[in-house]
Structure formats: C-alpha cells, structure tokens
C-alpha cells in the first residue's frame, strides 16, 4: 500500500515539475515580448488570444510544430537530432530540486545546490553538440564561442554558489534559504553580482549572446535548426532564465522569506524570481553585445577575482560569527 502511494507521489511530483517547466518559461517569454516591446516604444503582440496577445507563444508553438523538420545533408544526424534534448533535459532535472518553499519542492535532495550546478553545466553540451553536428561554419563558430563562454563563466558561478553554501554551512538549497538573513544582501552582494552576470553568460543572453550573434554568425548554433527542434532550444533558453532566476531568488534573496511566509512562501520565491527574470530582460534590451575578448576579460579579470574575494569575505564572516 505505502509502496503504491510512493509511486503515485513520485508521478505527481514529476508531473508538477513538468508543468512548471512548461508554463513558467512561457510566462517569462511573454513577459519578454511585452516588456521588451514597451521598452522600445512598441506594443508587442496584440492579437493572438485576444487580450494583449497573451497567447502569442502558444501560436508560436503551433507554428513551430507545423514547420518542416530539416536536417542538413552533411550533418551528423544522430547528434544533430539529439542536441536540443540534451540542451533541454538538464534544466528539467535541475528544476526538480529547486524549492519554492521548504515543502514545495520536486525532490528535496541534500546536495541540491551542487546538483543544480552540475545539471546546468550539462545543458551547454547540447548547444555544443548542435553547433558541431550542424556541418555549418557559423554553427561551428557559435559552438566554439559557447564552449569558451562556458569554460570562463562556470568557474565564477561555482565560486559564487560555494560562497553562499559556505555561509549557510550546507549544500541543500532549502538549508541555504533557511539560513538566509537580510544581512546577506550586503554580505553576499559581490557573489550575487557575480552569479547574475555568470548566469546571463551561461544562458547566452544579451549582452553575452556571442554564440548566436545574429549580426556576425547568422544565428550561431541555431542556424541550421528549424521547427520543433529550434523551439526546444528556445524553450531551453527560457527554462534556463526561470531556473537561474529561481536559484538566485532562493540562494541570495531568501526565497520564501517574507510576510505570511508560512502560507505564501512559494509566491514570494516566484515573485522574487520573476523580478530577476525581468531584470534579465531589461539588461537584454538596454545593453549591446560584448565582443568575444571583452567577454573573456570580464570573466577572468573581474568575475573570478570578485568571486574569490567573496569567498574570503564569507570565510571571515563565518569564522567571526561562530
């Protein structure tokens, strides 16, 4: 009997995570459509669905499904077809362990912070595979840029997360969020900054979108992709925004900490994450793309030292407070 209940619970949790994984990126995508449009003095989608184009992304999905699924003749077929899923699934896995509140979490594992970082690191391999298998020089260049970006920004990101883990004394995201106090906003600020920048770079979002730089590389890694596979890459990008916003909200903004924490904790986590997502959109609209060497300089000259400094500050703080 209890065996059956356990299976049912696992299935329910998986379905809930999947639903969140499919709905939240659409929410962010629609927000991006509208916020970006208004920041540029436009209205954005207005017709799909009737009210201010709320169903635009649904219409987009329908369009993507109808498109022909083309695999280039000289492409490495298997890798080419697999790549979008390799890009997408790790974010789904990571989503499962990100808590919305101490109780609302797909799977509460002890080392969830570590798992999230590991899983998101795998996501980049999908873009790398896609770029390599496309048999196109633009895709190849994009993939190389993506690889360089990954190598450069994974380190500061891990260091930033290590700092909060050190401060909380645990690798569990629930544990970190529960150890969070408003004082962290100041104490962990450099690490938060480093994580945000590194997350943008990891997501290949402007101003770090050299791998898909449309004015230089056509569309970089996605040049040869059409239809549903391209849509999966897009979904992976927006799922990544959701994921990193949630991680940021849980690790640096205290997640569910806020008024009526007991009942509305999950709402607080989501609202904070949403604010971070809007910030990411805002940065995209406002800033130009960095050059490849500027990207590397930013990572190694600024982010890594700042992250190391943060680690030192955290260590001093932990020792002094004990």
């Amino acid at each position: 009997m209890s065996e059956g209940w356990n299976v049912l619970e696992v299935v329910l949790r998986a379905v809930a995570v999947l639903a969140a994984f499919l709905v939240l990126p659409l929410l962010v995508g629609q927000t991006e459509h509208k916020v970006m449009a208004h920041m540029q003095g436009r209205l954005g989608p207005m017709y799909a669905g009737g009210f201010h184009g709320w169903a635009q992304l649904v219409a987009d999905a329908v369009k993507f499904i109808q498109k022909e699924d083309i695999t280039p003749a000289r492409a490495d077929r298997g890798v080419f077809r697999l790549a979008p899923f390799v890009a997408l699934i790790p974010y789904l896995v990571a989503m499962a362990v990100v808590p919305l509140s101490p109780t609302i979490v797909g799977a509460d594992v002890p080392g969830s912070a570590l798992l999230v970082l590991a899983a998101t690191g795998v996501g980049i391999i999908g873009t790398l595979m896609g770029g390599w298998a496309s048999a196109s020089k633009y895709s190849m260049l994009g993939a190389m840029r993506a690889a360089a970006q990954l190598v450069s920004y994974e380190l500061p990101m891990v260091l930033a997360v290590a700092s909060v883990a050190l401060a909380a004394g645990t690798l569990s995201m629930v544990g970190i969020a529960e150890a969070w106090t408003p004082w962290w906003l100041l104490w962990q600020a450099p690490g938060a900054f480093v994580f945000l920048v590194a997350a943008l770079a990891e997501l290949q979002r402007p101003p770090f979108d050299m791998p898909i730089a449309d004015s230089e590389l056509v569309f970089g890694i996605f040049t040869e992709y059409t239809g549903l596979r391209f849509a999966f890459f897009l979904l992976a990008e927006y799922a990544g925004i959701v994921l990193f916003s949630l991680i940021f909200s849980v690790l640096w903004l205290g997640g569910w900490a806020g008024p009526f924490e007991a009942g509305l904790g999950w709402l607080w986590t989501i609202l904070k994450a949403y604010a971070i997502a809007v910030l990411m959109i805002w940065l995209r609209v406002s800033w130009p793309r960095l050059r490849e060497d500027q990207l590397q300089r930013l990572a190694w000259v600024w982010l890594v030292p700042i992250a190391l400094l943060q680690l030192a500050i955290t260590a001093v703080g932990v020792v002094m407070m004990r």
């Binding site: 208004h38 805002w282 609209v285 406002s286 800033w287 050059r291």
Partner: protein, 315 residues
Amino acid sequence: MTERTQAEQVNPEPVEPVQPVGGEAQPEETRVTAPRPKETAPAPGTKPSGILPGLVKGLAATARTLTRHAHTAEYPDVMPKLPPRTRGVIALTEENCTSCMLCARECPDWCIYIDSHKEELPPTTPGGRARQRNVLDRFAIDFSLCMYCGICVEVCPFDALWWSPEFEYAELDIRELIHEKDRLGAWMATVPPPAALDPASAEPAELVAASKPPRPVRPAAGEDEAAPARVRPARPAPGEGGPPAARPRREARAATPAATPTDTPTDTATPPTAPIPTDPAPTAVLPAADATPSGDAPADAGPADNPPADKDGGA
C-alpha cells in the same frame, strides 16, 4: 574604451611622416613600442569609469521608454490622424473639368486618361451664334502608375482635381486601380475643406474684387492723369479718392512705395508685411526723395501694384 585606444594608436602615425628627416628607424621603434603599453595600461583602469555611466544610461533610457506610451500606430483598429494635405487619392469635380487636358499632359506618368467630344449648343436667342463646349466622356486616373506627385492637382486651372486623404483603396487586381470618373467623383466627399488662411496673408483676390466699389471713383484720380499718363497704375491717391476705411491694406501699400522707392525690391517679395517695419527710418531720410523722383516711384512700384489693379478692372 577600445575605440579610445585605437584612436591613440592612430594619432601618432600621421605625425611621423611629417618629419622624415629625423631618421626612419627611430619612429619605427616608437611606433611599435609606444602604443603597446597604452593598450594594456589604461584598459583595466578606464573600464569602470568609462563604461559604467554608459550602461546606467542605457538602463535609464529603456526604463523611461517603458513608462511612456508606445508609438505603435494600431492602424486597422485605430485610424491614423492624417494631416489635411495628405496625398491619399485624387478626387474629381466633374462639373469643373473643361477637358482642357492640361493635367493629362503634365502628368509625368501619363496615367490620366481623358476622352471628350465637342457638343454644339443651339443659340439661346434667335439669330444668335451656336456655341461649342467640351463634354467629358471619360476621366480616369490609373493609381497603379500614379506617383502622387500632385502635378495634376496643381496644374488644373479650374479646380477640378483635389487631394483627399483617403488611402484605403487597395485592390486584389491591379486593373481595378484605374478609377473612372464616377469613382473619382465619389472621393470628392472626402476632400477636407481648405485650410484657413494665415492671419497675415493677403486677402483672397475674389474677396478683394467683390468688396471693391464700382467704377465712379476714377474721375477723382484725374488730377494725376496729367503728369504720369504713361504709367497706368499711377493711382497713389486712394487716400483722397478711394474709400480708405474699407481697404486699409491697399492704402498702406500705396503709401509706402511713394515714400521709399528703395524698398521696392522687398516690397515685391513680400507685399503686405515687409514695408511696414522698414517704414520709419527711410521716411526720415527721404522727404527730399519723395518730392523729386515721384515720377520713378510709381514706375518702380508698378510690378507690385499692377496685378491687383488689373483684377479690379476686370471685376
């Protein structure tokens, strides 16, 4: 930041060729060595100070735009507010058209088609002469060729063609873009009324003519006739003879050329307004000139004064 370093690299180079005597080897060395430290040294230092304000400015600009209304014209839902002189479509007042063909000949695209025939009207009185007139059979503008230059509207001497701001007459078949005269006539309903005249503009010629009193004024100006008989518009005495209150503008114009003969060029350029400000100064200088070249003055003023005088005569 990088632009700045590039500029610094470029700058020394034009200087060097100017002094070729100093030996070629030395500038070569400085050229290689000098910019290098510049490239590495200021880069990390200037980066935050140069870039950060720009980044913040960018964020502020987008945030400000977010709070304002979008510029999007929601056209099919909201009709655009077009200025009255918009060149949307050409309308035809068929009654005004005399089939003179001026518009068709001036049209750069030759996209106006006019067919007409002559009709003989029987004499209205017994023994009178039969008259001929043109009857418009076809008047069509091919809007698939028209380039909306407006020449036809400008050139029509009889006010038969008008601009209308309507623009929604797209067709699925290009041949339907030839608007025949009934369709062109239907556009007349959409022609906006002409814009109000500028407050400082001259009175329209028709109104001037209509408000003018009939002839009998002329004998009063007979005194002048003796001296400058050769000059027709020598009627600078409307102050005495004409009804001054009715036409103050004309009075001003007639008075100024006589007083200031030097002003006539500006006078012709902008008839009513220009002389008034320049008036006080020259009159102080020119009372003597007023007496002696009075014969010249009306002659100079002729071009300015003639046309209204002619029209008056015609009316």
